[in-house]
Symmetry: C2
Subunit: 135 residues, 2 copies
Amino acid sequence: MPDLDQTLLALADPARRGVIDLLREKPRRASEIAHALRMSRPAMSRHLRVLRQTGLVVQDGIDADARVRMYRLRGEPIEHLRGWLEEVEGFWTAQLASFKTRVEGSNPKPNREARAVAASRAPKSTRPASRLQKP
Amino acid sequence: MPDLDQTLLALADPARRGVIDLLREKPRRASEIAHALRMSRPAMSRHLRVLRQTGLVVQDGIDADARVRMYRLRGEPIEHLRGWLEEVEGFWTAQLASFKTRVEGSNPKPNREARAVAASRAPKSTRPASRLQKP
DNA sequence: ACAATAGTTAACCTTATCGTTCATCATTAT
DNA sequence: ATAATGATGAACGATAAGGTTAACTATTGT
């Protein structure tokens, strides 16, 4: 069972995403990845450990030489994350629904998405209108 | 243009995902969110700043009281991230293709996914077979 | 004018992260 | 046996994240 926190933390590092991009093409050895990303092997080893612990990567396939660890990508955590993202992406329709039930009793004809934006009505105050947004 | 690094880093915090989950339903005020997630307002303010900077959230809609900042969700960074994820998810077919072109000249009948796994052949060594995996 | 409210910023502390170098373990080659 | 290789582990330093309290700005109410 993939953990969103772990998965996101693992992916929130360019080096580890680099690993993922490399493994996307084909399984590779640890040192090969370290070299490709210009990083010491210990550093890469730790990145790989993180990726392993989150299940984004597995090691297997002893390459005829038991010294080398072949790493390959594993899809499950990524699919799980995508599932969560799609769920979140439903926010727009969710807000539409919420808006609907909040405004009307059960009126069957409220389907313009512009309606949701209309929720930001102008302040009734006639004052200087405050700046909000100082870059 | 949403930045993957920023987006992932922003999402890789349970508090900020909590904010997202709250805003999924409807726009809310900063203090409301802070209270819902049992966190001091300054802490939440910084989380909101992070979310703002990554474009995951925008503030608008002065709620008749110019003191309150209404926060609402913004879909673009999430969609961008989902796009990347789907791209990564293509790794399996990519590896199939790579395997195909590596093994055969152009033989038109190589469509068992088990083939890709078959790449992990047994070591020719007859030794104790090394442990690999010490939990 | 004064106090109260919503929100942010600043200063501080604690903890975690990332990379490096050095040491260690396991496996293969001479 | 000894050396060389692939990978990991441990200790160190630098940097950034996340929380708290206190101070500050802006707006509203009395």
